[in-house]
């Protein structure tokens, strides 16, 4: 039987930003399977030139409406490393707490609002409010907890206001921390229910050997700074990030592609779990095992599960962080520093994977040169190659156009791509 297929998903829905899936099959042979990002680039690196370093985190937060805190933190880390600023411990803990809020918020947004409709066969999350009110309830409560945590630590849920070079401009009050702690404790049953829910969903069966890149944990599950590691055994220093990413450009897409030991690699929740499984909170690790997520897992659809596990982890870790903060002096949140010339790199694990910012600053503290490498950029090549493999497998299994379209869309969504971010 001759199979011809032409699939063209223009502006894929339920993802952040604009991308197209283009698949062409002729005579049963795969001719083309592309993941083409058609987002309009914004040229942040060019805009940064000549800007005061203290505006840089504010500007780069606007790269992404979802992981703005991550961008802010990567930017701050690059600046603070360039100027050798010692951020007070309290501020570090508060920043990590903010980070956790963002991870929780972003992952629940993806898992429930963007990915879940696929599993239930509905166009969006709204019908679930009627048909599965308990799931909608989980989504709303978990997301709210994440947003509230961001709000408390950085001043608002999107585009943080109090993240400044040297630390934080404002700390929450202890009674506020206690209040959010109670909320987080109440969310534990919710995230456990979410894990239980995922146990009942059927994750598409698709495996492609992949190299996974993440920050390298030392004692804890890593989020901000430190060495880089890959499941193929590559280890590099943070400053050496370019050797980890190796950007290049393809014609059909406005984003850049990256590669490492193989033709592509993946970052994100799955990459982190694959590389740092042993550092997960004990209960989160148990939940992962329960869901069949153990390292190294090569099914990209499992990224959704990894996100649920990370939510579980950040909720539990946030409670511990708050307990630490309650013992600390919350007025010591900002270091004085001297403006000086320098170069610095900041690597941060944001919801979708490792984010790198690098700046060169002059002695006035103005940005001379900037480079930002976004997780989705690093994933794009991998998505692209996964697509080919997925279609090949689908053809073998004699799947229909509609099934292949559906699986392809789900595949791209599973990566939780943040496209406008990747074409910043």
């Amino acid at each position: 039987m001759k199979v011809d297929m032409k699939i063209d998903v223009h502006h894929l829905t339920r993802v952040e930003g604009h991308g197209n899936i283009e698949i062409e099959v002729k005579d049963g042979k795969l001719k083309k399977a592309r993941w083409a990002v058609v987002e309009t680039p914004r040229f942040f690196e060019a805009m940064l030139r000549g800007m005061s370093h203290d505006l840089a985190p504010m500007l780069t937060a606007r790269i992404c409406g979802i992981c703005a805190i991550g961008h802010g933190l990567a930017s701050l880390r690059a600046i603070e490393r360039a100027m050798e600023v010692d951020v007070p411990e309290t501020a570090k803990v508060l920043r990590l707490l903010a980070k956790h809020g963002e991870t929780l918020q972003s992952h629940t947004l993806h898992v429930f609002f963007l990915a879940a409709p696929d599993f239930f066969g509905v166009p969006n999350v709204l019908p679930l409010i009627e048909s599965h009110p308990e799931i909608a309830g989980l989504a709303v409560r978990l997301k709210k907890a994440g947003n509230d945590l961001c709000d408390l630590t950085t001043g608002r849920p999107t585009h943080p206001v109090s993240l400044v070079p040297g630390g934080l401009s404002k700390a929450p009050e202890k009674h506020e921390l206690k209040a959010i702690r109670r909320v987080l404790v109440d969310r534990i049953p919710d995230i456990e229910a979410t894990a239980a829910l995922f146990k009942t969903l059927s994750i598409p069966d698709f495996v492609r050997e992949t190299e996974f890149v993440a920050l390298k944990g030392e004692k804890d599950y890593p989020w901000i700074g430190g060495d880089l590691v890959s499941t193929d055994g590559v280890v590099k220093e943070e400053d050496d990030y370019r050797a980890m990413t190796n950007e290049y450009k393809e014609d059909f897409t406005t984003t850049k592609f990256t590669r490492l030991s193989r033709e592509s690699f993946a970052v994100g929740a799955l990459a982190r779990v694959n590389n740092n499984f042993k550092f997960l909170e004990e209960k989160s690790r148990a939940a992962a095992e329960e869901l069949g997520l153990t390292p190294v897992n090569h099914n990209p659809y499992m990224n959704n599960v990894a996100q649920v596990i990370e939510c579980d982890h950040v909720i539990r870790e946030s409670i511990k962080l708050i307990d630490r903060l309650l013992e600390m002096d919350l007025s010591d949140i900002r270091a004085e520093y001297r403006v000086r010339a320098g170069k610095g790199v900041g690597a941060v694990e944001v919801p979708r994977g490792i984010l790198y910012h690098e700046y060169e600053l002059d002695d006035q503290g103005l940005v001379v040169k900037a480079n930002c490498i976004i997780p989705t950029t690093q994933n794009n090549a991998n998505i692209h190659i996964d697509l080919s493999a997925l279609v090949e497998q689908g053809l073998k299994e004699k799947k229909t156009d509609a099934e292949i379209t559906h699986l392809s869309e789900m595949l791209v969504r599973a990566y939780d791509p943040c496209i406008s971010c990747s074409v910043h």
Binding site: P41, S52, P123, V140, N147, T158, C421
Partner: protein, 254 residues
């Protein structure tokens, strides 16, 4: 509520994003406490970011982002033809937002800086009203969900939509904040339209004017204030140009 003959009808919205970070659209899914009530007022017929359903029968088009490529111009014009009411949602849509910082540089230079010798297509950034007629502007980077809720209620009930005319300082002092000028920062609160609840200054950082100008802002005197506080023209200009919403606030070199 059938009060006064107001039998609220859901408004059919389409939400569309252009050059931006999509943070404003995302706000629509935030403020979870009232999310269900909020969504009850809307019929979402087109919202790519959260829904696979793509209807064309929307009455109100929310436009997020600025315009920076030819295909965007055409897409926007098509939406304008369809929409009864076109809303510029967020600072990028209203004023160009951070994207327009790019316009200070030569386009070729910008492209070369990021893509080297592998150029991509791009145009100088324009705000939505530079391309099509805009019926309503909701500024904010990101927009305040509270304000959006209020506006949606007004749309549903057919009431006149009002924005504060006064500057951010009013809201800032209502929060009993310390003025960040006293902390040594350069704040654009005195010339920026209120409505955000003074979020930035409440976090002890300066306002950078994402909501555009307050009515009858006193630029002349504000320039003087900046000078007397010892801020250099470069520092001032950098902040005023950040969002592109304060074109009338001109800083001269002297």
């Amino acid at each position: 509520m059938k009060y006064l003959g107001i039998d609220p009808e859901k408004i059919k919205i389409g939400s569309f994003d252009f050059t931006c970070c999509e943070g404003c659209q995302l706000q629509l899914a935030n403020k979870e406490d009232t999310l269900v009530d909020f969504l009850n007022l809307l019929e979402v017929v087109n919202f790519r970011e959260i829904s696979s359903y793509r209807g064309e029968d929307y009455d109100i088009a929310l436009i997020e982002g600025a315009i920076s490529r030819q295909d965007e111009v055409e897409r926007l014009k098509r939406i304008r033809e369809q929409a009864k009411v076109l809303v510029a949602l967020g600072t990028c849509a209203c004023f160009g937002g951070v994207n327009q910082i790019k316009n200070k540089f030569e386009i070729e230079d910008v492209v070369r800086e990021v893509y080297g010798d592998d150029p991509v297509e791009t145009l100088p950034v324009r705000k939505i009203s530079d391309v099509v007629k805009v019926d309503l502007e909701i500024p904010g980077c990101p927009v305040s969900k509270e304000e959006v809720e209020k506006i949606v209620v007004d749309l549903v009930t057919g009431a006149e939509i009002n924005f504060p005319k006064y500057p951010v300082c009013v809201e800032c002092r209502r929060k009993v904040n310390t003025c960040v000028f006293d902390l040594g920062l350069l704040c654009l609160g005195p010339i920026t339209r209120a409505g955000c609840g003074a979020v930035c200054t409440s976090g002890k950082t300066a306002c950078i004017g994402c909501r555009g100008p307050a009515e009858e802002a006193n630029y002349e005197e504000f320039r003087q204030v900046l000078k007397e506080h010892g801020f250099t023209p470069r520092e001032a200009r950098e902040r005023i140009d950040f969002y592109g919403g304060l074109p009338e606030m001109v800083i001269d070199e002297s």
